[in-house]
């Protein structure tokens, strides 16, 4: 289990953007953060990735405590799948993956970068397309490659920043189920950031509803809540999100 507590985070000591975040992640399961657009969800992910410094709080993983003040353990804990795949058009799929593989990993696993990359592509069922270029594959496929790219970083958890937002409804549905399966298969921890209530209900075992600026966990729904009262929950979450708009 990974427990994340962020007491406060603000840009250059001004008004806090993030407050009182307490979320827990379980192996092979997805924890969702849901909130209206612009409520600071992406900033939260950037804090976890170590791209923003100066947050107050800590992370517990296997009895180890990581403090945000000394945030050097990022490489082993979190990797990220962005909203758009952001593949490099001048590199084919396998080269795109290889760029994320470090020398250290190559030596540790005693495999070539090629083998490691191909392995990751096999997990996301894209190994047949390894030599294609990004403009030759669909957006759904590209997003799977982006997922593979996060996998080769060997982190405990994967942060998914609205990974399905730009997909069409049909592809989104297929990829959502696919993602659920892959997270289970690879025993990763995962945080999904979304503003789609149905997506949250479909994929996650824990839903944290965020209120607006500063981003703060307003209500947490556990797996029991999600299993038992599906219908009411949707209304519930929507009303909370709607309340923030007004």
């Amino acid at each position: 289990m990974i427990k994340i507590n962020i007491n406060k985070y603000s840009y250059e000591n001004k008004i806090p953007v993030i407050k009182n975040i307490n979320i827990s992640l379980k192996e092979g399961q997805i924890t969702t953060l849901i909130g209206a657009s612009g409520c600071g969800k992406s900033t939260l992910l950037r804090v976890l990735m170590g791209m923003e410094t100066g947050a107050h709080g800590n992370i517990f993983y296997n009895q180890n405590e990581f403090n945000f003040n000394h945030w050097n353990s990022k490489q082993t804990l979190f990797s990220m799948v962005p909203q758009t795949p952001l593949l490099f058009p001048w590199k084919n799929i396998i080269e795109n993956i290889k760029l994320a593989i470090s020398k250290k990993k190559e030596i540790q696993e005693n495999k070539t970068k090629n083998e490691i990359a191909l392995n990751a592509l096999k997990i996301v069922q894209m190994d047949e397309h390894a030599l294609k270029f990004p403009d030759e594959i669909s957006l759904g496929m590209a997003q799977r490659v982006a997922f593979a790219r996060a996998l080769v970083l060997d982190t405990k958890a994967i942060l998914l920043d609205e990974p399905f937002a730009s997909l069409d409804a049909h592809t989104r549905r297929i990829l959502q189920e696919w993602l659920l399966l892959k997270i289970k298969e690879t025993s990763k921890y995962a945080i999904l950031v979304t503003h789609d209530v149905r997506e949250a209900l479909l994929l996650s075992k824990e839903i944290n509803v965020l209120s607006g600026v500063p981003a703060e966990v307003y209500k947490t729904y556990t797996s029991d809540d999600i299993l038992h009262e599906n219908k009411n929950l949707e209304e519930d979450i929507l009303s909370i999100l709607g309340r923030n708009i007004n």
Partner: protein, 251 residues
């Protein structure tokens, strides 16, 4: 097949115009030193090709050395300004202003400093080419950083690798566009600089022909300059196509 056909009509049209011109000039009494017959120009190209080639060689050398130095200088400036915000804030406005400077007017001064040899022409080519190249290159590198720095941070890619594998390729299309324009423009500049004083070169050939009222020779020289300019831009386009092989994904 289609490509050949695409070029057939314009070329045919051009040749037809020349043929008509030849006929008209033969019938009328326009003196040769004002408008020479197209056939006379061809005759010059066939009989005087050795001198023309020697002079072209000089101009080509000046120009090629200049282009290579300009690319290196442009690359150097943009890498510096990519890595240092201070350097960028100093150099960027200067580069933009430098776009409005007609470098050709510096030639007489350059000649006093560097003599009649190829040096002042090389420097002129470097001046005309390196600034537009570095301006475009540094803008594109910074744009690349804006677009891809998230991935670079996300994947923990080292800065050197990020530059070589991500930022530089992103900037290549713009670099080739800048090169294409400067390449054709700078060859003319080099030839014009030779007009102001030089030991050899196409400009010198042009000047000598003018002094003896050999308009046919002048037109031949101009023709060579035009052909080299066109060839160089097409060559850059061709290299661009080979190097920048990728298409930006539609998504």
């Amino acid at each position: 097949m289609f490509r050949i056909f695409k070029w057939f009509l314009p070329v045919f049209f051009g040749l037809l115009l020349l043929f008509i011109l030849e006929l008209i000039l033969q019938k009328t009494n326009v003196p040769n030193y004002i408008i020479p017959l197209p056939s006379q120009v061809i005759d010059v190209l066939l009989s005087d090709w050795e001198t023309i080639l020697q002079n072209s060689y000089t101009t080509l050398t000046e120009w090629l050395i200049g282009i290579i130095l300009a690319i290196l200088l442009g690359l150097f400036l943009s890498i510096c300004s990519f890595n240092s915000k201070l350097f960028h804030s100093i150099i960027s406005p200067l580069l933009i202003i430098s776009q409005s400077i007609p470098y050709l007017v510096f030639t007489p001064i350059l000649m006093i400093w560097f003599g009649l040899g190829i040096a002042p022409k090389v420097i002129l080519v470097v001046l005309t080419c390196s600034f537009p190249i570095s301006l475009v290159l540094q803008n594109d590198l910074l744009e690349a950083k804006k677009e891809y720095h998230l991935v670079v941070e996300m994947l923990y890619i080292k800065p050197v690798n990020a530059f070589i594998h991500i930022y530089l390729p992103y900037a290549l299309p713009g670099f080739f566009n800048a090169l294409k324009i400067s390449v054709s423009y700078s060859f003319g500049s080099a030839a014009l600089a030779e007009l102001m004083g030089s030991e050899s070169g196409l400009g010198v050939y042009l000047l000598r022909s003018q002094a003896t009222y050999r308009t046919d020779k002048m037109i031949a020289a101009v023709l060579i300059i035009v052909i080299i300019s066109i060839t160089s831009t097409s060559l850059v386009s061709l290299i661009r196509k080979k190097v920048v092989f990728w298409k930006t994904a539609k998504h």
